[in-house]
Amino acid sequence: MNAPVTDILRIQGISKTFPGEIHAVKEFSAGIQKGQVVVIMGPSGSGKSTVLRCLNGLETPDTGTIVVDGVPLDGQKKNRLWIRTEVGMVFQSFNLFPHLSVLDNLNLAQRRVRHASLSRATDNSLKLLAQVGIQEKAPFFPAQLSGGQQQRVAIARALALNPKVLLFDEPTSALDPEMIGEVLDVMKDLARSGMTMVVVTHEMGFAREVADWVVFMDQGRVIESGTPDEIFDRPQEERTQRFLSQIIWKNPRSST
């Protein structure tokens, strides 16, 4: 080992509570290296989405530190802005801009944040749309697309700023079953191309195939974490075993 391995995402002891609500996070820590894919699983209310939302500044943790590629997510406006452009996010409900065409959804941030020219932004956008397999939908509006297509546009939009890390917050939970595959395929391609990803999902098939590390959370705490094989085949904690048997029972497809 000559070159020191540095984490692109370093999370140290972040905690976050919401008055009168679940979704709290207690003392979450993780170090994620460039190109790694981390999957966070857990029952609803376990705080997994909150962890994700802290990573790009949508929520501010009560305590703990987050460092992205050496830049701390602190009170400094410059750092916060840098982190939210370098850490992209894909949402459960897509959150595409309904009044803009697919192309303009992708162009907007490139034009306003990266100050790209219209032609350069458009070239890049069309390339990304081709990458997610829907270049022909560029002039359409989000409402004219299927759920799976919308989520693929959302992934392309998050990629448009060429971020260092991509966060996925239950990206397939709002999709009809027959559309989940097309979105997972795009995500697998991304993972294999070396994108650093943190994915909150219950798709065990996806986790087995591309995750380097799986974290299981419950009630705001990490119950256990390990490689997909360790977590899925030899879970140590009773809580993990119970959860996994539940999602396999409910959704047999995800166990394959």
């Binding site: 500044g57 802005l81 992209g88 949402f91 801009f97 309904p98 907007l108 306003r112």
Partner: protein, 262 residues
Amino acid sequence: MPRSVASIPWKELLFFIAVLVTLGWVVALASGSLGYNWQWYRVPSFLFTVDDGRILPGPLVDGLIFTLQISTVSFVAAFVLGALTTAVTMSDSFVGRILSRGYLEAIRNTPLLVQIYLIYFVIGPFIGLGRFESAVLSLALFEGAYLSEIFRAGLLSIHRGQREAAHSLGLSRFDTYRFVLVPQAVRRILPPLTGETISLIKNSSLVSLVSLADLSMNARILASDTFLTFEVWFTTAGLYLLMTVPLSLAVYTLEKRFKVLS
């Protein structure tokens, strides 16, 4: 879109005509029992007079023009004031929020009539405002408060996910409003905005209280001079409709243009 004869809603049309006939009958009956002597032939001269081959506006058209003027100026001022108030209300500034809240509550909880008198008699002379400027200030402050609440409601009605998506794309706060939130809010605020604009035109009749010769002021003078109460006020109501109905229609067209698929 061309309409075939079959698509004309005959039932609705008949119903509409029946309502008009009934209303006319009631008015005729009422004026008949009063022994009212209709003199509609005198009304055109209230609108226009011909003098030496030139057409001059009569008192009602004069008033109409003034009402349009003061409404337009007041609307522009109210729009700017409302937008600023919304921006301050939704900002992070604590003092700003308290100030805008205080302004909203003060305006919405006192009658416009009292505000017009206060500004004309107390604040106007103090800061050197004339009659017209005082009236514009009153209307702008009053409508600005309502407009700002409409703007705020429109922005708040946009799903939280839109703001979060803009955030995670690194868009600045200003760009988030300019490119993401406001364009979507425009469509939603158009109907209440139209309502407020029509209110403004109607409320402008209150400026006659500080002796500004608007449409309702001129109508009142005319009615007491000529004793043609019915003719003058029916005509006046018609003139107000002439201003407000085209506005509603124009906004209806706009609404279709700004339609967002969802």
